[in-house]
C-alpha cells in the first residue's frame, strides 16, 4: 500500500527502519536531536533511540566528521547530517583525505561505511555562501559514491541501501526545497541499488537527463514540449557516482539527441562527464551536438531576478531542446 508522504518523512523512515535493524547505526550532526532536525528530517528520533544514537554536535563540521569517520573505521555505521553541504566544505579534508582514501592507503584493511547527508544546492534567495551544488566536487573523488535523488520514493530506497548495504562512504544530496514535497511511498520495505538511473518518462525524439530538484525543470520542459508534438525521454540519474551512462546511451540510440539539465557550475560538471562519455560511446548515434543548461558561471546572487537568471528553467530548456531538434523557435 502506497501512501503520500513528504520527502523528509521518507528520509526519516529510512533511518528509523535501519536504526531498528542495526545498533551500530547512529546519527550525528547539528540540531539533529533535541531540536528534531534543522529541517525536521530526524523528528522524533531522539525520543525513540535516545542520545547515545541521535547525537547533537557543536558547530564543528571538521571535528564531528572526523569522529564519525574514525567510528566508521572502528566498527560503527555512522550517518552524519550536515545542515547544508555548503558547511561540509569545512569537513572536506576528512571526506577526501581520510574517508575516501583510507581503504586504498591501508591496502584494503580499513573500510569506512559512513553516510554523509544533507541539503545541497540553492534554495531561493540564500545568497552565495548557502547555494552551491556540490555533486560534481564529490563525484570527482574515487572511493566515494554520490547519490542525489529527486523524490521521496527514491530517497528512501537509496538511503536505506546506503545505510544497510554499502561498505563505502556515501555522499547523499538532498534539497531544502524538496523536504516538504509529497510522493507515493509504499508501506512495505524496499531498497534501491546505487548506480541505476531511472527513466521517468519514455520518449522517442530527444533525451533529457537531470537529477535532484532540476528533475522538475526536465519534466516541466518535457510536458511543454509534448504540447508541441515533441516526445522527450526524461532520465533521472539518481546516482551521480557511479554514473549509469548505459541508460543514457540506450536512450540516445533511440532519440539521437541529448540535453542535460543540472544545477552545477559549468566547468568540469556532471554534464561535462556525460557529454564526454556519450560522444565516445555513441558518436554515430548523435544527430546534434550534446547541449546542457547549468547554473551560471558565477556565485549565486541575492536579487530574485538574478537567482532566476542563474538557474536552469523550463523555458530555456524547451528552447535548447528545440535547437538540438533544429526546430523553428
Amino acid at each position: 500500500m502506497a501512501r503520500s508522504i513528504a520527502f523528509r518523512e521518507a528520509l526519516r523512515e529510512a533511518m528509523n527502519e535501519e536504526f531498528r535493524r542495526d545498533d551500530r547505526v547512529f546519527l550525528m550532526g547539528e540540531e539533529v536531536a533535541e531540536y528534531n532536525g534543522a529541517y525536521k528530517v530526524s523528528q522524533g528520533m531522539l525520543d525513540e533511540f535516545g542520545d547515545k544514537r541521535v547525537i547533537d554536535t557543536p558547530i564543528s563540521e571538521l571535528g564531528f566528521a572526523a569522529v564519525a569517520v574514525g567510528a566508521a573505521q572502528n566498527g560503527l555505521r555512522p550517518i552524519v547530517e550536515f545542515m547544508t553541504w555548503n558547511f561540509a566544505v569545512l569537513a572536506l579534508d576528512q571526506i577526501l583525505n581520510t574517508a575516501s582514501k583510507m581503504l586504498a592507503m591501508s591496502g584494503g584493511q580499513l573500510s569506512c561505511p559512513i553516510v554523509f547527508r544533507g541539503p545541497n544546492g540553492s534554495a531561493g534567495q540564500l545568497g552565495a555562501q548557502h547555494s552551491t551544488a556540490f555533486e560534481s566536487y564529490y563525484a570527482n573523488i574515487p572511493g566515494l559514491k554520490v547519490v542525489s535523488p529527486s523524490n521521496g520514493y527514491d530517497a528512501k530506497g537509496l538511503l536505506k541501501q546506503a545505510i544497510r548495504y554499502e561498505e563505502d562512504p556515501i555522499i547523499f544530496m538532498e534539497s531544502e526545497v524538496m523536504y516538504g514535497e509529497k510522493s507515493e511511498v509504499p508501506e512495505e520495505e524496499y531498497y534501491i541499488p546505487i548506480g541505476k538511473a531511472d527513466v521517468k518518462k519514455a520518449g522517442s525524439d530527444v533525451t533529457i537527463v537531470s537529477f535532484n530538484k532540476m528533475m522538475k525543470v526536465a519534466l516541466g520542459a518535457a510536458s511543454e514540449l509534448e504540447k508541441e508534438g515533441v516526445n522527450a525521454e526524461v532520465i533521472d540519474l539518481r546516482s551521480i557516482r557511479p554514473l549509469d551512462w548505459m541508460t543514457i546511451l540506450e536512450s540516445v540510440k533511440k532519440t539521437n539527441r541529448l540535453v542535460i539539465v543540472e544545477e552545477q557550475w559549468p566547468f568540469a560538471s556532471i554534464s561535462s562527464e556525460i557529454a564526454y562519455r556519450i560522444q565516445k560511446e555513441g558518436f554515430d548515434y548523435l544527430d546534434a551536438p550534446i547541449r546542457r543548461i547549468t547554473a551560471a558561471d558565477a556565485p549565486l546572487h541575492y536579487a530574485p531576478n538574478l537567482v532566476a537568471l542563474a538557474l536552469p528553467d523550463v523555458e530555456r530548456t524547451v528552447k535548447l531542446v528545440k535547437e538540438v531538434m533544429y526546430m523553428k523557435k
Binding site: F26, K52, T57, P58, S60, L62, G63, F64, A65, A66, V67, A68, V69, G70, A71, A72, Q73, N74, G75, L76, D93, Q94, N97, T98, M102, L103, A104, M105, S106, G107, G108, Q109, L110, S111, P113, P142, G143, K145, E166, E167, D168, G195, P242, K280
Partner: protein, 331 residues
C-alpha cells in the same frame, strides 16, 4: 638506582627501542645509498622511548593512530619489521600492500590505524576510534599521536572540545620534538607549553620528558586508567627530540649541531641500558645477544623486502571500494 619497573619491562623496552632505531638507520641507508626507498621519509630516531612507554602502559586491543612519522609506533604495535620494510620498498608484502609507503603504515589486526599525512587530521579520527569503543561498551582506549606542528591546527581544538564533551576514551599525545618541519615551537604561537592548550577545555594535561621510557609509561598509564574508567581524555605533551631532520631531505639549517649533540647526551636507549646495568638486569653478553637478534631481524626485513614482488598491475583499481563490482572509468 632501584626501579619500580621489572627486568622484563626494561629488556622489552631495550629490544623494542633498538629495533626501531636499527630499522630506521637501515632504512635510511637503503634510501640514501641505494635508492631502494623513495618518497617522503620521516625517521623516529631519538623518539623511541615514547613508543616503548606507550606499549607497556596499554593493552594490545588499545588502538594507536599517528601522523606520518609512523615507523616506530607501527613496529611497537607489532607490525613485523618485514612488513614495514617491504612497505618502504613499495612491495606487495608490505603492511599496506605497497600502497601506503613510509607515511601510511597500517595494521588492522595490530590495532594500528595509520600513518596519516595531513597534519592534525588524525586527531579527530583518533577521537572517533575512541568514540566507537565507548559506544560498543569496551574498555579499550585510543592513543592519538601528533606533533607540535599539529597543535596549531583547528582540528585539535574541535576535537578537544568534542572529546571532553563526550568524555571519549582517547589519550592525546603531542610528541613535541620542537620543530614543525623547520619552524620552532616558539615561532608558531604565543603559547609554547602545548599541554596548556588543554586548559581551555578543562582537560587534564601533563608535560613529561620523552627521553625517559619510565616517565612516558607512568604518565600514559595514569591517562589510560582515567579513560578506561570513563573519565575522558588527557593531553600529554611529551618533550622529545628527533636526531634526524624533519624528513630525509631536510638540510636542518634551523638548528645547530650542538643542540642535536646535547640531546644525544640524554639518549633514551642509553638511559634504558644504564638502568639495566645499574639494576643488574642483564650482562653485557645478554645485551649483545639482543643486539644481534635485532640486527638479524632488520637484515631479514631487508632481504624479505628485496625479494618480495611489486604489487600486481591489477592492484591499481583494487582496494578503492569494498564494492567489488564498482564500474571504474577507464578512459
Amino acid at each position: 638506582m632501584a626501579t619500580k619497573f621489572s627486568k622484563e619491562t626494561y629488556l622489552y623496552w631495550y629490544e623494542l627501542m633498538q629495533l626501531i632505531r636499527q630499522f630506521e638507520l637501515k632504512a635510511e641507508e637503503k634510501y640514501k645509498m641505494e635508492g631502494k626507498i623513495r618518497g617522503f621519509f620521516h625517521a623516529y630516531v631519538g623518539q623511541e622511548a615514547i613508543a616503548a612507554g606507550c606499549m607497556t602502559a596499554t593493552k594490545p586491543e588499545d588502538a594507536f593512530i599517528t601522523a606520518y612519522r609512523d615507523h616506530g609506533l607501527a613496529l611497537a604495535k607489532g607490525i613485523s619489521a618485514k612488513a614495514c620494510m617491504a612497505e618502504l620498498y613499495g612491495k606487495a608484502t608490505g603492511c599496506a600492500k605497497g600502497k601506503g609507503g613510509s607515511m601510511h603504515f597500517f595494521g588492522k589486526e595490530e590495532r594500528f590505524f595509520g600513518g596519516h599525512g595531513i597534519v592534525g587530521a588524525q586527531i579527530g579520527t583518533g577521537a572517533g576510534i575512541a568514540f566507537a569503543e565507548k559506544y560498543k561498551g569496551t574498555d579499550a582506549v585510543c592513543l592519538t599521536f601528533f606533533g607540535d606542528g599539529a597543535a596549531r591546527q583547528g582540528m585539535l581544538h574541535e576535537t578537544f572540545n568534542l572529546a571532553m564533551l563526550w568524555k571519549l576514551p582517547v589519550i592525546f599525545i603531542c610528541e613535541n620534538n620542537n620543530y614543525a618541519m623547520g619552524t620552532s615551537v616558539e615561532r608558531t604561537s604565543n603559547v609554547v607549553d602545548i599541554y596548556k592548550l588543554a586548559d581551555a577545555y578543562e582537560m587534564p594535561a601533563d608535560s613529561i620528558d620523552g627521553m625517559s621510557a619510565e616517565a612516558v609509561h607512568e604518565s600514559i598509564a595514569r591517562a589510560v586508567k582515567r579513560a578506561r574508567e570513563g573519565d575522558g581524555p588527557t593531553l600529554i605533551e611529551i618533550k622529545t627530540y628527533r636526531y634526524k631532520g624533519h624528513s630525509i631531505s631536510d638540510p636542518q639549517k634551523y638548528r645547530t649541531k650542538d643542540e642535536v649533540d646535547e640531546y644525544k647526551q640524554r639518549d633514551p636507549i642509553e638511559q634504558v641500558l644504564k638502568s639495566i646495568f645499574d639494576n643488574k638486569f642483564a650482562t653485557q653478553e645478554e645485551i649483545d645477544a639482543i643486539n644481534k637478534r635485532v640486527e638479524a631481524q632488520v637484515e631479514e626485513s631487508v632481504t624479505f623486502a628485496e625479494e618480495s614482488p611489486w604489487p600486481d598491475d591489477s592492484e591499481v583499481l583494487k582496494d578503492i571500494y569494498v564494492d567489488q563490482n564498482y564500474p571504474f572509468i577507464v578512459d
